[in-house]
């Protein structure tokens, strides 16, 4: 934990937008409260998850060292979630909406990776960044530094709206219908922290795609997928979206269903809001395994789901934000730094340039401009490289980059005449690996490296495949070189293995009393057509035989393909039985004595075990909103105490009163569907619904605690004094305790409609 954590708040004062600054103060106080034992584990876990602070492997304080499971004795006997050690390193996920970043944000990322993590920033398959090995007490400072550069981690994990992704080529793409970036931006910030998105049973992932046929947006595998579409009405072209819902990967992969062939652009935000409301209302809350939106859509059927959404939509009070973003949507696009130009014919090119040009350079729809992919090995980039890339983006394009769902970065609007110089600069920074989007550009989730749920080493395997395939990728047939490989460490599919020609996900098998790391082989998934079809699982192969498996399958494809037959078509043509028989002999595991290397995973030296698999935090636990609300009241009472200690008596008095007001509101919210925030209204209803009914009455103290609030409400304009503030704080604490007790009594009663 950093000695400088407390310095950043002061140092960055005034540089963080106010709602974000207040939100970070709240988080910091929650950490303090947790350390004082005043917050429940499950509530704190969900609260940190909603800020992107995620658990990491071994955070239960136990690790198998290859011989035995041993306890990791962390210094503090505290927890940051159920069974999660306070001091254990964690992962910080950082949302990058549609992958868009500035040079300055790259520099901040570089600093954070260096100071709080291990010098590596990792790009995920959903265009986020992740930092690993971060201490929970460093996260507020880390988040402040991000916030000062305009990045929030809010709702990066937990049961929330996750990062909104979009094609990295949007705006420069030759096949796009229109640029979806402004819409992704608007929907991100409309739904961020939106009250209708706070009580989901699971996460919601949204993706935008600029066209139907390409792959970049992967709309079909998302909870909500919006594909740009236009229609002509009275000679006027209108914009909208082919709108999909209920897609997803995981153990039960599902293609999204068509919600609307053409959802007008003006309806994008309100209809998404109504989807959130219907999901919050009707989605599964108890069983996490069936709580994603795809299960609700399946259960209700798309027609009924749509009917409910549109019915809800009709009840929404108008929100000007629904369409405000449309006013300047066309002026939000990126502009080039330099005039367009064309690549000059040079007598001698730098070594490697031609290969790089072939695979990493995309000619934009705007003549004379190119988009260049910086292929990151397994999505990893060092702090030095981030700084170099920031400089490069300032020199060649207007200061921006985008992350991609293939864990790479792109520089858009490169004047094509600059490509040789850009290649030289990227090479100097170790960022000019060729083969972007090709077979050697393997996509991988974190797997057993850091993920609590990992079964096999997806990154270890991916690094090996990458190294072996890259060595001869330019001597391969193009049909092979263009294939995609994606690897997940388990069935949860974070590596998106279903949407890939060759996909692998981690499983384990037993052999002679030993556990052996394996990967299930999934063939013929489609990356194209927005992940338009998922692959076929054909059998599990020992991890150490996967490179051979890749070699076997690709060679056979090359030998058997007919004319221009695509890989997916070939897999479909030969069928599952033939696919399976192709790898049958590779499924054999030698005895432990004969070859112990099969019993050790890639990039590891320990004898393999599945004993380190922990409990996932992908979505955290489902926490009733009232648990959050009452915890927030406790924090307000705590902040009142801090204000009093700092001599700000009137603030202390106000916060103490508000903590009671909000507690009363939270309880009333359990009984009444809609509640105005007006204090008189809340106090009146509180008396009527909870005091007169004796629901709030304590078995011993009667209505005493209720009257603390009612009296504080009546005297809320009274002059501030230290004595009065102190008394109010004490009363607020008792009132909140009584509110918890009242809520417990309400839970035990039949529901009131």
């Amino acid at each position: 934990m950093k000695a400088s954590n407390s310095l950043w708040k002061q140092r960055l004062a005034g540089r963080i937008a106010e709602p974000m600054a207040a939100e970070l103060d709240v988080y910091e106080n929650e950490i303090l409260l947790k350390k004082q034992g005043k917050m429940e584990d499950k509530v704190f876990a969900e609260t940190r998850l909603r800020r992107g602070a995620y658990g990491q492997r071994y955070d239960n304080g136990q690790r198998h060292d290859g011989v035995a499971a041993r306890k990791l004795t962390f210094p503090q006997a505290l927890t940051k979630g159920p069974g999660t050690e306070w001091d254990a390193p964690g992962m910080q996920r950082i949302k990058i909406p549609y992958g868009g970043m500035t040079a300055q944000q790259l520099e901040v990322m570089a600093e954070l990776a260096e100071e709080y993590s291990d010098g590596i920033a990792h790009v995920t398959t959903r265009q986020d960044f992740q930092l690993h090995f971060v201490h929970i007490e460093d996260t507020p400072a880390l988040m402040r530094r991000l916030a000062a550069s305009g990045i929030t981690t809010r709702e990066a994990c937990g049961n929330s709206i996750r990062n909104v992704t979009a094609c990295h080529l949007s705006g420069v793409c030759r096949t796009q219908t229109f640029d979806v970036t402004p819409y992704a931006h608007a929907l991100t910030y409309f739904l961020l922290g939106h009250p209708d998105c706070q009580s989901f049973g699971r996460k919601v992932k949204i993706a935008f795609s600029g066209c139907r046929g390409e792959s970049c947006g992967l709309a079909m595998m998302h909870d909500i997928g919006a594909v740009a579409a236009t229609r002509e009405v009275d000679g006027k072209v209108e914009r909208g979206f082919e709108f999909y819902v209920g897609g997803g990967l995981g153990t039960v992969p599902q293609q999204a269903r068509l919600f609307d062939e053409f959802l007008p652009e003006s309806e994008l935000l309100p209809v998404s809001q109504s989807i959130a409301r219907v999901f919050a209302r009707l989605g599964e809350k108890k069983n996490r395994n069936t709580a994603r939106l795809k299960f609700l859509v399946s259960k209700l059927g798309i027609a009924e789901f749509k009917r409910l959404v549109l019915e809800d939509r009709a009840t929404l009070a108008h929100d000007p934000r629904w369409t405000a973003h449309l006013e300047d949507r066309d002026s939000r696009g990126e502009a080039p730094l330099k005039p367009s130009s064309f690549l000059q014919i040079e007598p001698v090119r730098a070594p490697g340039f031609d290969e790089w040009y072939k695979t990493n350079v995309y000619s934009q729809r705007q003549g004379g401009y190119s988009t260049v992919t910086v292929a990151l090995p397994l999505g990893d980039i060092t702090s030095d490289q981030l700084r170099a890339l920031a400089d490069i983006s300032r020199a060649y394009v207007k200061d921006t980059v985008r992350t991609t769902v293939e864990q790479n970065l792109v520089l858009r609007w490169v004047s094509s005449g600059d490509l040789s110089a850009l290649y030289a600069d990227l090479s100097a920074a170790g960022l000019a690996s060729p083969g972007a989007g090709c077979i050697a550009d393997v996509v991988s989730c974190p797997g057993t490296d850091t993920c609590k749920l990992g079964i096999s080493s997806s990154r270890g395997l991916s690094a090996t495949l990458r190294e072996r395939l890259a060595a001869n990728q330019f001597s391969m047939d193009e049909a092979i070189r263009g294939l995609h490989i994606k690897v997940s460490g388990c069935f949860n599919s974070c590596g998106q293995h279903h949407a890939s020609d060759l996909g692998f996900y981690g499983v384990s098998r037993n052999k002679g009393g030993y556990t052996v790391p394996h990967f299930q082989v999934v063939l013929g998934g489609q990356f194209e057509n927005n992940a338009g079809a998922y692959g076929l699982a054909i059998g599990a192969v020992p991890s150490k035989r996967i490179p051979e498996t890749v070699e076997r399958i690709t060679s056979r494809f090359l030998a058997e393909r007919q004319a221009d037959e695509k890989f997916q078509a070939w897999i479909k043509r030969i069928g599952k039985a033939a696919c399976k028989s192709m790898i049958d002999d590779l499924t054999a595991v030698p005895a432990h004595d004969a070859d112990p290397s099969f019993y050790v995973d890639w990039a590891d030296a320990r004898e393999y075990t599945i004993g380190d698999i922990g409990v996932g935090e992908c979505a955290g636990e489902v926490v009733n909103p009232i648990d959050f609300q009452l915890t927030a009241c406790e924090r307000e009472a705590f902040e009142a105490q801090l204000a009093l200690e700092a001599g700000d008596v009137s603030k202390a008095q106000r916060l103490a009163y508000e903590s009671m007001l909000h507690g009363a509101g939270a309880l009333l919210g359990q009984r009444l569907p809609v509640l105005s925030g007006d204090p008189d209204h809340v106090a009146g209803l509180f008396r009527e619904q909870l005091v007169d009914t004796q629901l709030f009455s304590d078995p011993f103290a009667g209505a005493k605690f209720a009257h603390y609030f009612l009296e504080a409400h009546e005297k809320r304009e009274a002059a501030a004094s230290a004595d009065r503030a102190r008394q109010l704080i004490e009363e607020a604490q008792l009132f909140i305790e009584a509110s918890h007790a009242c809520y417990a009594r309400m839970r035990a009663m039949p529901a009131v409609v």
Binding site: K2, S4, L72, F74, D118, G119, D449, A463, E467, A605
Partner: protein
């Protein structure tokens, strides 16, 4: 100042296979080879000029680090330490040297790994505590000098600032 990093370079540079480091670091965890809580091993060999192979700890990370394309043992203190700045610096240098000794003696590298104890890079991994400015350099120099004087003798080494302003405050110390 807190959170010192010390890098001791491999000599001769190049040609070292880092793969054995994975098994070595796992063994260090198993055998509690260092007097601190060691957690896991991270393999970054796929990253050019990256952190190489790292031993992740609670108080410190150790790594056979390839940053700037110079292989060396990088010790990186994560948690704050008590004592004077000199104590912290001595502790970081001591930890880095101890790791170098263990690696050099480890049969897994078959004698291929040797370190040059006459050159250190010392950085402060905290921009709030130690900004990379001229004043920052003077402050760090004032702390580093007494430690190196005691270790190598006054006037027997060259000390200079290295690294661009955006990088961590870093000094290079080379014994003459």
């Amino acid at each position: 100042m807190q959170h010192f990093q010390v890098k001791i370079f491999v000599r001769p540079a190049g040609g070292v296979n880092l793969e054995p480091a994975i098994a070595v670091f796992h063994r260090w965890i198993r055998e509690s080879a260092l007097p601190e809580l060691l957690i896991d091993v991270a393999d970054y060999r796929h990253v050019p000029a990256g952190p190489g192979v790292m031993l992740v700890g609670h108080d410190s990370h150790y790594g056979l680090d390839e940053r700037k394309n110079r292989l060396g043992l990088l010790y990186s203190r994560r948690t704050a330490m008590d004592g004077t700045v000199g104590d912290r610096l001595n502790s970081a240098i001591g930890a880095a040297r101890r790791a170098c000794e263990l690696l050099t003696a480890d049969p897994a590298f078959a004698g291929a790994l040797r370190f040059d104890d006459g050159e250190f890079e010392i950085a402060v991994n905290d921009r709030a505590l130690a900004p990379n400015t001229a004043d920052g350099y003077l402050a760090l120099e004032a702390e580093v000098k007494p430690v190196l004087d005691a270790m190598w003798g006054a006037g027997s080494y060259d000390l200079r600032s290295v690294g661009a302003p955006r990088e961590l405050l870093t000094v290079s110390a080379i014994r003459r």
